[in-house]
């Protein structure tokens, strides 16, 4: 029992949700949970806040599904909701202490050797990401981690393509600088 999983297209699933088949929405959630979750975790820097933002985004998407005018691009439309939601959480989270507990490795605790190095590298990256200005981090993640085209990112963020390219460039430069600093600490 539980959530129905059907290998249908986004458009088909959206059509079924609109017809009252909520199980189809569960299938959409399952389909996008991990990928969007990855963006949320790296953007916000806190696993719990990220899951809350993700959950909130899925609920908002359901409630405004009538405004998804191109169901075949449900994923991209959902991304836009999540990007906006992460902006709100990011502002709040910046004012709180955050735990960089993010994956099973960290939860299991790094013992020594390779695991310790990996946790240290993970922490260094997350700290460096956290130091980026939010709009730089957002552009960098959407371009290089989520592999979106600049035109798609422009549609999601409302920024122009030139501005986005500049933000990604700055993000790359600053990440490189912060990581070099971390190596010398």
């Amino acid at each position: 029992m539980g959530i129905e999983r059907v290998e249908s297209s986004d458009a088909e699933l959206v059509r079924r949700v609109r017809a009252g088949d909520i199980g189809a929405y569960g299938a959409l959630v399952s389909r996008y949970r991990d990928r969007l979750g990855r963006y949320a975790v790296h953007m916000i820097g806190d696993h719990e806040d990220a899951e809350e933002a993700l959950q909130d985004s899925f609920v908002r998407a359901y409630r405004s599904l009538a405004r998804c005018y191109d169901p075949a691009r449900f994923g991209a439309w959902l991304y836009g909701i999540l990007v906006n939601r992460c902006r709100t959480t990011g502002a709040r989270a910046a004012r709180r202490h955050r735990m960089f507990v993010r994956d099973a490795d960290a939860l299991n605790g790094a013992a020594h050797g390779d695991q310790a190095d990996r946790v240290e590298w993970t922490d260094a990256i997350e700290r460096a990401l956290a130091r980026l200005a939010p709009e730089y981090r957002e552009a960098f993640l959407l371009k290089h981690v989520e592999d979106l085209e600049y035109e798609a990112i422009a549609e999601l963020t409302g920024a122009g393509v030139s501005a986005l390219k500049m933000r990604v460039k700055r993000a790359r430069e600053q990440l490189q600088l912060y990581l070099r600093e971390a190596e010398h600490v």
Binding site: G20, D21, I22, H42, E51, L54, Q55, R172, Q176
Partner: protein, 162 residues
């Protein structure tokens, strides 16, 4: 050892592209939240669709009347169980004398639901499927002290600030 700047960034990108573990229970929480507050602009989506959204299991708080007196306070909880092929499902527990006739559940699209008003306290319960099959609630804590050989679950209704 000197590493080219681009190589550092590429390493970062490869690291960030690794899958991140997201709690699979999030799916259920999304559907539960949808079920708690059906959208107002549903345009003809039937009420049962909202309940069917709770293909997640676990009691859902749906109403809490305001009251100064915590001892008289009670919460209305909705219990949901998915069993598409069941002919009947009853909710039985400490709140209804373990009587299958007291809280028969209604079904739509294989999702069975009923609502029970509970005063603050800890309650053991289970679902009785087709009158013979005892099922615990996968979405709720397990009742460990089961002395009768069948699984049960627990729901706790809090007092202050819950």
């Amino acid at each position: 050892m000197f590493e080219r700047a681009d190589d550092v960034v590429e390493r970062v990108i490869q690291h960030l592209r690794r899958p991140v573990a997201i709690d699979p229970g999030l799916d259920a929480r999304v559907l539960r939240e949808i079920a708690q507050a059906p959208p107002t602009n549903r345009r003809g989506w039937p009420l049962w669709s909202a309940l069917a959204a709770a293909a997640v299991l676990g009691a859902i708080l749906i109403a809490r009347p305001w009251s100064r007196d915590e001892t008289n306070r009670s919460d209305l909880l909705q219990f949901v169980f998915v069993a598409p092929r069941a002919a009947s499902v009853s909710l039985v527990g400490d709140f209804n004398d373990w009587d299958p006739a007291r809280s028969p559940m209604q079904t739509a699209q294989g999702v069975w639901a009923t609502a029970v008003r509970l005063a603050p306290g800890r309650y053991r319960y289970a679902f009785l499927v087709n009158g013979v099959d005892w099922r615990a609630d996968p979405g709720a804590p397990t009742a460990r002290d089961d002395e009768f050989g069948t699984a049960s679950s627990v729901v706790t209704v809090g007092g202050r600030g819950s």
